[in-house]
Point group: C2
């Protein structure tokens, strides 16, 4: 679920292991709530996600076209929000559904379950899935945990924890698989952002001149940190965008593949990939890179889905989602031509200040026809 995270404030991550048993740092719960969880307590935000037809259709179809996974089974819905996935699981025939939600939205989920006559099947539990106790292990864990570019918000950590605590050895994950994708793109936004940055610096210089002149204080020593702050804000922070497929100028490539049954938090703390993309358009511009994800509902080898379902957030005119894509812009853009090869090295780590946000190191080299290459370029980005 794409959502706001307060990127300004650290979550006081300390480097001691804690009770979730996998060596990740302790996050202050009150701060985590102030930074992250609180937005999910708003019905308006739940409605936005519930109004995303592509999202809704994928989960709806994955459940109702695979009733064999649900009939007479026990289910855990991690981060139930309004309760929708728990309700569908019950309607598909589950014997018992535990719907866990950390925010006060749990109270609305409880009302919704009751209003749909499912209170005998669905038990809403308000709390963190890391802390709550269930009376039994479950056959299915269903969750809509995906953030922008898949891993923003780091909610999947909670799903992994739930799986390790509560999924039967034969249990299935909904979704079962996830992939991160990257592709070179063209975009007019890059020029805009550079213009905004330059305008902001012009404004700053005027401000420095006036502050010296009217108020006798020389602020020029702050020009460097101000420009770094503005550069980060305008040029280095990834953007939300709903890209037109025509903006994709080269072959997309997979950065990461996740098997939700076996992946660990250590596997996803860092995303590191060297990929190749071939330019597919004549005489165009490499303005940046677009990142997105897809998930699949395939069940498991021993107990597969009867009907595989895919939820993709790739650029699309008709099937855009509230996730959009994450856009990493380059300054300046580069001219490229059909057949050129772009070698990309991608490294994404969690922000030290806030584990739900990401830092990206993105380097690329362009191999033109006849072997000519530009010097490699390396850029730092922030997913806020």
């Amino acid at each position: 679920m794409g959502s706001n995270v307060n990127g300004n404030a650290g979550d006081n991550v300390t480097s001691t292991s804690n009770g979730n048993g996998n060596g990740t740092a302790t996050v202050d719960k009150g701060v985590d709530f102030a930074n992250y969880f609180c937005t999910y307590a708003f019905l308006y935000h739940q409605k936005e996600m519930l109004s995303d037809r592509v999202r809704m259709n994928a989960y709806f179809n994955s459940v109702f076209n695979n009733k064999h996974h649900f009939i007479g089974k026990t289910v855990l819905d991690v981060g139930t929000g309004s309760g929708i996935l728990a309700i569908w699981s019950a309607q598909a025939g589950a014997k018992k559904v535990y719907a866990v939600e950390a925010t006060k939205m749990a109270e609305h989920a409880r009302e919704l379950v009751k209003a749909n006559n499912l209170q005998d099947v669905v038990e809403v539990i308000e709390g963190s899935v890391e802390d709550i106790t269930l009376p039994e292990k479950v056959d299915v864990i269903i969750s809509e945990w995906m953030g922008y570019f898949l891993l923003r918000e780091s909610m999947f950590d909670s799903v992994i924890c739930a799986r390790d605590r509560w999924l039967k050895p034969t249990g299935v994950m909904y979704p079962s698989h996830a992939r991160m994708w990257l592709a070179p793109i063209r975009s007019e936004v890059a020029d805009q952002k550079m213009g905004d940055y330059q305008g902001s610096m012009d404004d700053w210089h005027e401000f420095v001149t006036e502050t010296k002149s009217f108020y006798g204080v020389d602020m020029s020593v702050l020009t460097k940190p101000f420009s770094e702050e503005q550069k980060k804000y305008y040029l280095q922070t990834s953007l939300w965008n709903n890209l037109d497929p025509n903006q994709v100028v080269g072959t997309p490539a997979v950065l990461k593949e996740i098997d939700c049954l076996t992946v660990t938090v250590d596997d996803i703390i860092q995303v590191k990939a060297n990929i190749l993309s071939t330019v597919t358009k004549e005489d165009t511009w490499l303005c940046g890179f677009g990142g997105w994800f897809d998930v699949h509902f395939n069940g498991r080898p021993e107990n597969p889905a009867e009907c595989d379902v895919e939820l993709t957030t790739a650029p699309s005119i008709e099937y855009g989602t509230h996730w959009g894509q994450q856009v990493f812009l380059l300054h300046p853009p580069a001219r490229v031509n059909k057949g050129n090869e772009i070698l990309i090295n991608f490294l994404m780590n969690r922000s030290e200040q806030n584990h739900r946000l990401m830092n990206v190191d993105l380097g690329y080299e362009i191999k033109f026809s006849a072997g000519k290459m530009l010097p490699p370029v390396k850029n730092k980005f922030y997913i806020e």
Copy 2:
């Protein structure tokens, strides 16, 4: 300083007394930082305040037109931000200035002090004024602590604490006095907001119909809480506005007067006032109320300013400030005429979830000519 406060997240205020000695509740520091302090660590935000000419001129004039308060004296700047007030105090002749700042902005303040050759006079201290220790008491406490409508952000609590800990018995406060004002206004925004609210509810009803139809889940039990959430958002949350003086349709009245030398936190935890405003315009609309503040730099009776300075945030074409005014809209508006009397009872308390935000109970009665009166109206508002 008007600023964003994360209104979504509580600051875990507990009801025990704590070390600040005046019976206020303990606020979790990490959460307070995530909700409030963090925005002040951005140079962009400091620049916004430094670019407010009315604000800058008032403080500049209050200091440099009253050098007798500064020459050879010790000064404490509470919440120094970029360091500007501390720098002016030193330039006006202070012997020593302690500039306290809770965020990493303190590092920039230190650079700025050095770049202006004042490091021998100004000592920047990173920390909360409630926690830090000074080697001596001071002659002057200077601070720009005012939030929207004066008390939003509740920063004045910190100034009072600093005064009780560090101001000499003969010391002066900059500013020395503060007042909150309220006036009836007309505004076209009220209709817009009602339209937005109604549009949002129309959209919701469509959403409920479709969710039942396509996904088999009846969301109608959530209509009431959704409408309350939307009502609070569109109709009951005070707005920032830079009002045109022509929009003020009745005589402004003082809600609260504060003597910064003697006021206690208990005095400002609640603002309660019954005021009267006389309509000054012919045949107009009462669409709501506008709230603003002013502060004065008068010194103290035993040691007055030589040159009294006022900083007002009243509606003004030429002298608007970044504080604007806070606007409380009424639905529906009421027709009023010159000479009508509006009796207003105003009650402002701190939000239980976040002591830096406010709840307002605003009731009014209109006394028309010939004694005719409409039934009293009572409204709840939120300053977020």
